[in-house]
Subunit: 345 residues, 4 copies
């Protein structure tokens, strides 16, 4: 089955290509980039030399529709919406990696991201977290792949909210992310000399755009409104997110019970690994893979619960999750092309 | 004034030498290491070639007492206690960087660190955090320099506890530390190939030895028992700690009021820098310096308060703080030798 | 076809597992480790949880021979030889990743590596660099996979020696390697706090064990004795080697001619990528892949020639090259399981 | 003595401030930046909060001349020349850290750097490498601080050229530099996600602007023309340069003789440390300091000589060297403010 990557010159686009190149069924038939149209992909990304022999082209919906059945759109928010609309209108199914269709409420979306360019599509996309919305994704023609932070928060959190064993407000989250999460932005803050050997929080509390996205999905899982406090950090790594979540339990919760609850929730999931009690998720153990490792540490005496997770923001947090959704959409085995071992050491 | 560094072959010992080498009044007269006795210091630490012309010697209290007035002891916990006792008995004032004299309660100390080798001295040391215990340190002949995590937690936290504006239990802490905090340990976990591009939590909840230390000092500040939940992480950096603290406020607290409270608390402190509202502490801005940067982010609507801090674990978290204490003990200006600009970039 | 990884608990062993897990024909049927026998592989390497469900076992040649047709031995030098001998004797074909069978001359081998434990096999192994010895490897029952530095030197160098366009002595080589090349050694020098933000040369000139190996193969290519001067460095990275080679040309050599010579030499090779004139090989462009990127920069006026290369020491420098050899040995397509895109960024 | 830093908002400017802040005699009286004029220095560089209470101003030569006796100019090449000319004309002595006055030959300068904006001053500046040109610097009113690569090459190389024991062409140099050497440039190539875990050569052979500078000074030392081949690399570190130099000796040279030659050359130099035979210079051992560590490894049998060096490009390669020159110019002890211990670990 032929697919396109629209917006292939950023880090998410490159990661999609990496994942798709080893996919047994998807064939990359078109790659687009407005800035680099005409350039061979191996020139834009020397790592792909000898692996993919395509030229970057300008995105033309009609032309794409003639050549591919499904498109992955990896454009910045706001830029994505009109392209998604046109590509959909041309009859191509879309897995969108931007933030444009993640929020189901137009007002919330515009508060955080500005005027929406395709408001008629808001609320029509499936939220592309298969472990929470598998059936919805299967039938979808438009899937909005979650943000990397939300994936790292929702996978450990949702089972506890769903079972009603924790308080829903506040949910306190401290996340640490590699810099590729910010994309290929040319800003001072992302220079090597600024980031190496450094670590700092940013957009503290309720200032990060992923807050409403996490609250939307957490509230769905809880069946009631959830209020998040969120402290994201930049780590001196390229890839990966580790997340800590502090919760209050509604009744005493033992380590055994917490572990059992997680294990039950993810018994049939191939990409969520519940760690043995006492072990902590590590970036290195998921690097380059579609895994999200999770663990629970209740403080039975004090009434608290700490959840931890680790994932690769470019794979389970973006390109890998997108392909997982696409596999579901077209009826392939969900793990196709995604069971790569992490790159360790 | 002549001083000794006892246990000079670890990272804390090396950092003490670095700080002392630029001190205008202290002269390093003796450096000891049992494993490397007889070796010139420049051989053990090539960075010190041409700066310090001493031989490492075995620690002999009587001999030290003839040559120095004050000793910095930078030995592992348990190993430190008997040496401190003997050096004190020989009449030398001691700034101890181990954990042996930080906890004032013998039982707590033995629960966490095993049988104490100098129990008669437990409770006699001043806790060497000048911003909290300046007067006590001035008169002390034995000072126990705080752990690096406790310093990073107590400096932002204590003012809010002291003023009674926050709940005391639970205090939720998420810290991220460079690997030098673990000392020069030869363990798999500290190999470059295990740590680079990696980040993971360890000793989650109430498992880290710094928990009782933080609780002791936080409770003193609050005037009531404080219960900590603590998630330490290893960062892929050599130096530095950034800490997030999640609190509940007892009454609505505005950003202005929180900033004012911190500013008031540290108005006369040279080494605690209260950042302008909205700015976040960064490892890079304190690297190699004795500064601890702090900031407060209240969530007025939600009733929460987030505190952030950054310090260099080897300076304000160890060697620099030790020299700050020593300055106080001997009546020198507290900032002597300590106003170095951070190494940026 | 069932295969074993003998010595699976080091970095090379882990990388072999990673590569083999995506191989379409090889099935990992046994993994051995003397130190960790009895441990599930997912406990030894958390990254492999959910991917490989085997227990590490003690290496028993007879038992292995019943279960596998081919074994990859990833043991330290000297430890490898007797195991290779026994496994071979039991009828299993062997791809050996140690240094024990790379040198064809017993005396040279013993000078550099000490008394040989299976001297009768010295000289019988094919040198496992397919681009130089493909036919020899095809028929071999024992292949000695080259060292990582030799691979990075020989691939750019051999074509120029073979064509006789450069002087053979001295060949000056400056290499920079990630620390995983040293294996999982527990030594001070490999601690994160020693290596991060650091870079230094070691074993300068003719002191590194890879010198005789490079000279053996370079001399074969040149048809005459080649003398190497070699300066290896440790880089603050986990993976990768970049190499510079300084040569004198025998007659003026233009940039065009140098590029043509390389392109001709590697026209049919899938894993050696000759970069366009002016581009330089980068670690990042080969990370996690079996590629070796090469480039030539002649100084026509001055009579010099500079060659550059980059590879991932754990893939093309170890596990990937081993699988490439195994593919040849058993008649599979040489690229089976090896066309993974590099992990970028 | 009051001094100014002109162009204080780049990495070199920041490093000058760091060094000057601990200088016992120089007082920073003015800091300029065209882009950030009006901003408090602590806002531009959070690391300097609480240490320097000045506002960045636009550079006005007349106003500077009223307030300072000496100015450090840390502007990009071409931008520096006219400012230096005007500041000099106003009677202020200048230590210039740009490339504008390093080359004594106007034609060579314009070939590499474009039309010169103050050609009348070319050739009038002292080349600010005190170990080679101390007397010339003492009397100078304008000093051109060397490039970072040239310093790392010339310090180990000059003694051997001066004594005539090595061939002068070609001198083969392979250097590896931290990224701060490129300044605070906002280019894709300097992003963390491009550089971390990466290493690559650039401007290979004779393409780097430091080639004519090295050749100028090496030729002066040799008393004859020296031809350089140069391969610079970017390292995944912020600071530091390690350099390898390959030479041919004119007569057999023993390790002892090579070491003796270096030791003799630098017997009275405080900032050049000749390492004991067999030890190799490391970035970590000079980090943050004004030291340059050097070592020689002759291959007596093969007729080759390998020289190695390590320095911190922002200190001995820029800001520290500038202050060392300024100390000489105004008659202070050459080491004033410069004997800081390296930041290790």
């Amino acid at each position: 089955m032929k697919v396109a990557v629209v917006g292939a010159s950023g880090y998410t686009g490159l990661e999609l290509l990496r994942v798709l190149l080893r996919h047994p069924e998807f064939e990359i038939a078109a790659v687009t980039s407005e800035r680099r149209a005409g350039q061979p992909i191996g020139e834009a990304f020397p790592s792909l030399r000898g692996l993919l022999d395509l030229e970057l082209e300008s995105a033309n919906p009609a032309s794409l529709a003639e050549r591919v059945e499904l498109a992955f759109t990896a454009l910045p928010h706001a830029a994505s919406a009109p392209v998604v609309r046109d590509v959909r209108a041309a009859g191509v199914r879309v897995v969108d990696l931007s933030a444009d269709f993640r929020l189901h409420d137009l007002e919330t979306s515009e508060t955080w991201y500005g005027a929406h360019k395709a408001p008629e599509l808001v609320g029509t996309a499936a939220y592309g977290l298969p472990e929470l919305h598998r059936e919805r994704i299967r039938g979808a023609s438009l899937v909005a792949v979650p943000g990397c932070y939300p994936t790292s928060v929702l996978l450990p959190l949702a089972p506890f909210l769903r079972e009603g064993v924790v308080e829903t407000s506040p949910v306190l989250v401290d996340s640490k992310s590699g810099v590729s999460g910010a994309g290929r932005k040319l800003e001072d803050a992302y220079l090597f000399a600024e980031l190496d050997s450094n670590c700092k929080a940013y957009k503290v509390g309720r200032a990060h755009r992923h807050v409403p996205e996490i609250e939307q999905e957490a509230s769905l899982a809880a069946g009631t409104g959830v209020r998040i406090s969120f402290v994201p950090h930049l780590l001196p790594t390229i890839r990966g997110i580790v997340t800590t979540i502090f919760l209050r339990t509604r009744a005493p919760l033992s380590a055994t019970a917490a572990h059992a609850l997680l294990t039950r929730a993810y018994a049939d999931e191939r990409f969520v690994r519940v760690l043995p009690p006492g072990e902590t998720p590590a970036l290195a153990s998921v690097r380059g893979s579609n895994f999200c490792d999770v663990a629970a540490f209740p403080d039975e005496e004090g009434g608290g619960l700490i959840l931890l997770s680790a994932l690769d923001n470019l794979v389970k947090g973006a390109g890998g999750q997108a392909v997982q959704c696409a596999n579901l959409m077209v009826g392939l085995p969900e793990t196709s092309g995604l069971l790569e071992a992490p790159l360790v050491p």
